[in-house]
């Protein structure tokens, strides 16, 4: 009886150890999985507030509309903090001047899978000069602080953001950036761009309620595609529509951007290649 009791105790202990081990393993796995397909751009401790902040993206950085993901951890326990107010500020420092860039702060204080998604339009490339300052106020311990990541932004091929001088306002600048389709296919594709204007060097707000017309064409053939849906304003300078491709190959999506009936720009285009 005693023996069997002992065995039972040992058995239960073993079982719980095994189960516990399994659970822990799964938990760890779960913790990492949300960054598995992302590229880590940097990790740094905040100046104050005891946070360790990591910056991720889906790829290394190019001058284009870029989704960024911010992870906040308690610097003491390394626990992921999922409730925080995050703001970001991209900055380009050049020898003679500095300017910011269009950006989108995380739109919620709750993390999505442990990450705070945000976006920046890097309107020009730069091996040095670009930085992103992340300001965090976490709601678990109440810590506040910020961190700055130096960034390297490469020039993508094909071009994915264009800075043009508006016909109707030569003093300003219009930033047109390609958002999707990222994997264009023959058929109907969601098409999305962003429009931002330069108010000041440090302020690049999204533009509301412009009219955007698109006209896809195959430059080497001279033909287009039918039934495209012109992008319309959704939020934060985003315009969504549909672009249709009838075959693989190189397509050029010509843009005509208007403020009401006033043409703002009709020179910009984006090229996509369907394999």
């Amino acid at each position: 009886m005693k023996v069997s009791m002992k065995l039972l105790v040992v058995g239960v202990a073993l079982m719980s150890a095994i189960l516990g081990g399994c659970e822990k393993k799964e938990h760890n796995h779960h913790q990492n999985s949300h960054t598995d397909n992302l590229v880590l751009l940097g990790t740094s401790y905040t100046d104050e507030g005891s946070m360790k902040i990591s910056l991720y993206s889906t790829d290394s950085l190019y001058s284009r509309y870029t989704n960024l993901f911010i992870e906040v951890r308690d610097s003491a326990t390394d626990a992921v903090i999922e409730d925080a107010e995050i703001t970001i500020m991209p900055m380009m420092e050049m020898p003679t001047m500095m300017h910011s860039a269009p950006f989108e702060d995380p739109n919620s204080t709750s993390a999505v899978n442990g990450l705070f998604p945000c976006a920046v339009v890097f309107q020009m490339p730069g091996d040095m000069g670009w930085s992103l300052t992340v300001n965090a106020h976490e709601h678990v311990n109440g810590g506040m602080g910020e961190v700055t990541f130096p960034l390297m932004v490469k020039n993508p091929a094909p071009t994915r953001t264009r800075v043009v001088t508006p016909i109707n306002d030569p003093a300003s600048r219009l930033v047109i950036s390609y958002v999707q389709p990222l994997n264009p296919k023959v058929g109907i594709n969601d098409f999305e761009i962003t429009l931002h204007s330069r108010e000041t060097m440090l302020s690049w707000p999204g533009i509301e309620n412009y009219t955007v017309e698109i006209e896809p064409e195959m430059p080497s053939m001279g033909h287009g595609s039918p039934n495209n849906v012109n992008p319309t304003y959704t939020a934060d300078g985003h315009y969504k529509g549909q672009v249709n491709f009838t075959m693989t190959g190189l397509w050029r999506i010509n843009l005509n951007i208007m403020d009401g009936s006033t043409v703002v720009d009709s020179t910009a285009y984006f090229e996509v290649t369907l394999q």
Partner: protein
Amino acid sequence: MKALAYGIFFTLIALSAVSQEQDSVLFFNKGNITETVFDVEEILVRPTCACVGECSCAMEADDNYSENRFSCTDAILAKNGRIELMKRGNFAFEPVMNGMASVRLNLTIDGMQIFGACTDKMDPVTSYVEPNNMKSVSVQHGSSGSMFGSSLGGSVNMETNGATINPNKPISGEVGVGFQSASLGANALFSLNYSRERWAIRANGVYRNFQNYRAGGGKEIQFTQFEKWNGAVSAKYMPTDKDVIRFDFIMDEGYNIGYAALPMDVLFAKAKIYGLTYRHYPSQTWFEKFEMKVYANTVTHSMDDTKRPNVIMHMDMPGWTKTFGGYADGRLKFEKHKITLRLDGYHTNARAEMTMYPNNEAPMFMLTWPDVDKLNFGLFVKDEIKFNTIRSLSYSLRLDYLNTSVIDEFGVQQAAVFNQDVSEADHRMLKNANISYMEVLGKGFSGWLTAGFAERAPSTTEQYAFYIFNAYDGFDYIGYQDVKTEKAVQADLGFQYESKRFQARATGFYYHIYDYILGGIDSTLDAMTIGANGVKVSRNLSWAYMTGGNIELSYSPLKVLTLSNNSSYTYGNTFEGAPLPLVPPFKNVSSINWSHKKGFVQLECEAAANQPRINPEFGEMNTPAYAVLNIRASYFFPFGKKRLTLNGGIENLLDNNYRSHLDWGGIARTGINCYLNVSFTF
């Protein structure tokens, strides 16, 4: 065991069995219309066989027979007064019957469905059966041809020779060569039949090699060359006197085929056709014949622009079709009724691709036929009632179920760009009905009247074409899956008179077509092809009609002399009064034939009126009238039962520069052409 060993070979012969086809041969040749089907015409490429059923016949030299074997199948078809040929190069012309092209016809080989793999119709089915492999062509107009499938214009079924079981003549065959001057063309052909008591095997082959031809006036027409070979093996085995098993294989390969009227040529066109037939002649008097067949075929086609000058961008355009199917039919006889029942089915897949290669850019790829599967089941019933020697009536019904689906998701996505959802299968029921009455009106004088209703499903191109360029009107074509089934109410009328020296035959037809399928310009769409005029999308015209007829006259003032004349006319209009495109003008062929026991001389004049009734939206040009003179002669030298035949002639004797209205691209036809064929039959 022996039977098993021979089991892959086959054949025939129940002398008592009277096959339908032979009946119709009799009808046409002897005017014995009370015997059978007045709606079947046979174009004889062989002399009439004296026996009926599947017995063997001596190969008597018919007037045109030897020459026919050097001709192309399409040229033989065109001898029918209601068939014209649409020409795009110098190879494989597309048959047009009653003013309707192949899309409205049902073209079969031994009852087998075969679908061309070329989106530009460069490979009509008629190119796969060479004349030295052709026993007969059965041409049926309108819905009376529905035994072989649903169609509007009618059906053309080419029956291949097959092996002949004739133990009295174990080995027979023919070898021959021919040359012609206009295109420095050479033809070579052979056939060989080997027969034993219960089985026989036949092989035949043709090789043709033609350079560019010279049109009237001597101008060389670029891109009209071609090279092809065709081989066929047929085997028959007769395990009993009442059972026949037959296997057929045809292989056809064409290379470097020029298509002067199109922007591209053909690199190669290949077809493989397999058929296995079982035929049974039951002992019961009411059950004449039972036949079952399974078949399969593949067609591969590849276009080529590498030899053309000024090609802006190289492109590849391969196409494939794969078809398999089968049928079972039975022929019953009850007193005055002769009943044919047939159940058939086929599955076919068509896929065509287009890839363009711009410099330093990714290739541009699309599916011009988006991998389309068609599954069709058909039921056919025909009852021929012979009331007496004067009157007879026949009626037939056909019902088809057709399921069409796009199986490549790429194709579904492509079509979505044109706001078409082709992800769901397209189902159609097709109904065909026909009733014919005929009566002997007097001595040697008979008449017949046929009324029918026909439906045809849209073709793969009409439903799913994706930027298929039509060089005739210069438009890119886009299909429309939901295009309505085309329907027609039809009437055919005919009279025939025959006396010892005089034969006359007149036929007329009127087809009222509802939901006529024709591409319509969609000005909102951009053409894809560089230089194209725009885009046309399949649509239904409310209605259209075709009417026409032909008159055949033949008079023999002397036993050795025959004068004959064949004229035909077709007229087609849309409901808006606009002419239908590609309708042949009035055409007349007259000939004087002097025949002798061992040969003949023939002078022929082929003439067509101009065709001012054109459809400018289809890019049609007014075609001027023309007339050409041909002279032909034949003579044979007997060597016992073997014979050496020479035939030759001069076509377009006056070297006229002319074109037929149906020819694409305004390209002139062959100028003066001398030909000589030598063949040895044994």
